[in-house]
Symmetry: C2
Subunit: 587 residues, 2 copies
Amino acid sequence: MILQRLRSEMKKENIDCYIIPTSDPHGSEYLHNHFKEREFITNFTGSAGTAVVTENQAFLWTDGRYFIQAESEIKESGFKLMKMGIEGTPTYIEWLSENLKSNDLVGLNGEYFMVKSYEKLKHTLEEKSIFIKDIDLIDNIWENRPELPNGKVYIHDFKFNGKSSLEKISLIRNKLNYYNANITVISSLDDIAWTLNIRGSDIKYCPFVYSYLIIEEESVVLFINKEKLEQKTYEYLNKICYIYEYDEIFNYLGKYNNKKFYIDKNKVSVKLFGSINNSNNFVYGNNITEDLKSIKNAVELENQKNAYIKDGVALTKFIYWLKNTVKLKKINEYDAALKLQEFRKQQKYYIEDSFETISAYGKNGAMMHYSANNENSLIIEERGFLLVDSGGQYLDGTTDITRTIVMGSLTEEEIEDFTYTLKSHFMLSTCKFLKGTSGRDLDILARYNLWKNNLDYKSGTGHGVGYFLNVHESPPSISPRSTEKSLEPGMIVTNEPGVYKEGKYGIRIENVYEIVEDTTVGNDVFYKFNVLSFAPIDIEAIDMKLLDNYEIAALNDYHKKVYEKISPSLNSDERKWLYNVTRELIR
Amino acid sequence: MILQRLRSEMKKENIDCYIIPTSDPHGSEYLHNHFKEREFITNFTGSAGTAVVTENQAFLWTDGRYFIQAESEIKESGFKLMKMGIEGTPTYIEWLSENLKSNDLVGLNGEYFMVKSYEKLKHTLEEKSIFIKDIDLIDNIWENRPELPNGKVYIHDFKFNGKSSLEKISLIRNKLNYYNANITVISSLDDIAWTLNIRGSDIKYCPFVYSYLIIEEESVVLFINKEKLEQKTYEYLNKICYIYEYDEIFNYLGKYNNKKFYIDKNKVSVKLFGSINNSNNFVYGNNITEDLKSIKNAVELENQKNAYIKDGVALTKFIYWLKNTVKLKKINEYDAALKLQEFRKQQKYYIEDSFETISAYGKNGAMMHYSANNENSLIIEERGFLLVDSGGQYLDGTTDITRTIVMGSLTEEEIEDFTYTLKSHFMLSTCKFLKGTSGRDLDILARYNLWKNNLDYKSGTGHGVGYFLNVHESPPSISPRSTEKSLEPGMIVTNEPGVYKEGKYGIRIENVYEIVEDTTVGNDVFYKFNVLSFAPIDIEAIDMKLLDNYEIAALNDYHKKVYEKISPSLNSDERKWLYNVTRELIR
């Protein structure tokens, strides 16, 4: 058993407790299999969790999305499940602090721990005189560990992104200068891809390449597996930066003396941070690139509009296909997801999906991160909802959209909840807001109508979206938990309120919006949302009596745009159908 | 000139710069004249500001409410105005930091500086090697300084407050215990009045007495001018606490050794804090009493409802009188305010007004804190609005209400803005919210409809209200600047959105609400607002076309309650009128 092999490694090294997080050296959201150490050790395949192993005990912490799945997957592994967020369950740090003895030694691989979370852990454990050793105990025992990926890197053309890498680097240097810093180390893969205008295929759903980037006053240094660079890409990059092998960064960083580094503690690993010697000074903050890339430039905004229309065409064709096909033959959730991908693949500049499609029928829709596979898929029947949350990676943008599709007869409760969700969506999407307003401030606008009806959803309302980068991109966020950072024109956010009733159904209506200027009155500058996503919202599930006049107007206005943008790319049957389902509704 | 006398005192003491804040030793909002040092030195009578004097310069910092008034009042004083919040104007701390030289000595009276703001100042100045000396340079030069007030203290009866002082002290001790602290020093006057169930008349608009309170595990010690205590009050207090003279607290505190103090740095002065010796430890937080008194008990909630009805009767009678009288004779803003006070005085348990009535006609309404006096008052004409914001201190509650009263013909713009304000008020007042929601989260609900119409108000939306205590009571607050503290059942808050157009008019509609439980669904606990204030909202200013159905229903529902609660206390003419102005409106 793998757990026993780990324990014997621990014994050899005098480690009393070993922690295996879910991470790669870059703090990525999606991991290549090579980095799935926690999955290797526990068998649990979910996207989030932390494993802790002592001489006699082994626990896996994960959150509510995964309780059922984790319980079943870890059965043979020797691990016990710790249900995060359930009252009475300690966090893994609390557990360590309460259950380890003073002078115990905790092991972890500093390459997979970001500095911020490591410092929190260290601080808590040191209070109990428990110490941490940076040590890799997994690599040795992982037979047939997947190799690091080796996909080619390619240049993301100027016509798509509208800003050269040199220009971006100059903006980064301005900021470094502002902070009186000499150097920044960028470890997050989307920030590197953005800065250099390169893309890769090391990770599914994300067009990134494993690499590190150092930007200093006079030079730029990229650390990357050179085999991934074809002649053309190499020449392109060579004009921008010095190129070293991926692993050389640690030695390279060690040679700096008496410099001031700008570091993002959430995105730099303990190992990377530790390779910078003590003669240097530091200033901490979010990656300088974060703010720069979150405000899309004019070329990106323009291209993106096309990407969203193509994506809407794929989704609209899919909905038409689905509604017709379900009457003719048996299809399950997984078939539907595959078919949707097929429609996306037909679109220009499509690269891959931007995340695993959620195709959730009936009660599965209530699981907010359900993913269907060929074995467990429900057959779609001619009643209730199919919730489809999906997106694409295109050279000209990243998309994310959810439609809750009526498959046949609906209950009154389903219609009411769908209508409340629609009200919630429109209340946010049609609002205006003062410059300086944060996503945190706006969140309640999407809950107001649900709360009035004793409903709520246990997620944020919206997240930022990258431009052919991550589908979840910080800093924009519309959530009660988001920061006070204000929303600015050029930022891109989702709006995705929902109703989730366990054992019954899930409803979510999601579009992506760009933030644009509206009016200026005296010193008051107002912003608003401009919709990017186009696909019909299922009017069969709407109770018109529950809609206010402004909501009916907003729906009709939206559907008019959907028809205008989408219909030119449809065949005549599809177009006729779209004309009907986007028709103007009158009370 | 007073400024010269201060400068010669500064020279004698080698002080390079002297700071005079607006404060008393207790961090009160309203000051007795004895403590108005900043007014004495600058002639500026406003309620907020900081004066700074150096050998050659003298500045007064104050905020936008007071620019015009301050400019005119300080003309002869030798001070120059610094306009807070205007771009390019440094804060007084920034100014000190930029303009003083290293090794300069800054003087201030530590009795009037709360620890928190002092620490911020000290931190900034020390970075520039500028030092602070605690020294009183004003008392010497202030001839005919008003004596400290000497009003009698009285017992606030149990039938009004429903919780004995001993019970409150025991709750405070539980909290001390929770923090592992031995002692708390309470310096804020409303917290002392609440804890001991006493009231006084040292400060206008606030039923408080200058005093300090120490609560420790075994004993309670009150510091107060004993002359203020009649036999009965003395005996009452003597059962609860040891009684010392007001000034003796500093010596008394100095005698503690090796204790742990719980201290509110926003409410304890530098002098008070400094009198505790170094052998003691500290835990910091808001006064323990703050949370306890903010959640009103059942007796307070019940009594308060009566107080709010009485207050509504006074205001309703006033509106009736005003609307009729303006047609018959000339009345000005000040006359109106006096008449309103007359109606309040007729109410049972009325003690005084809870703040200076804002009676602002026409363009004066746009000044959010306008106060009329007999000389400058505008005559009320038969057009436009009179904005009246007022409240009372009753033995059974503190009130605060604003009505914008139609005096005759209105412009379309006035009607629209009034209607938007009403929509804003109702959107907040009819909402439901999840347990854990803060006033900060809710604020945007009152702005949503105004923002949609390119309007905003530059103040918070609501504040907590005391129970026969301060009319502005923390912690409840509905504002983009309020903390994340959640609103809880039993808290009392105002809801007062508005529209202010400089040179034209001001509109504000303010009611007070208690927070009550609504429904629990699964783990979701919902709260809502229950209205306490009753007085007609002027339907002559409403454009029904701009109201949604739910808003019309909310207005009709509210007016029905107004008639039910208020009409029994009116004469028959008033009642007939009220019936008409609270009639059900149909679209």
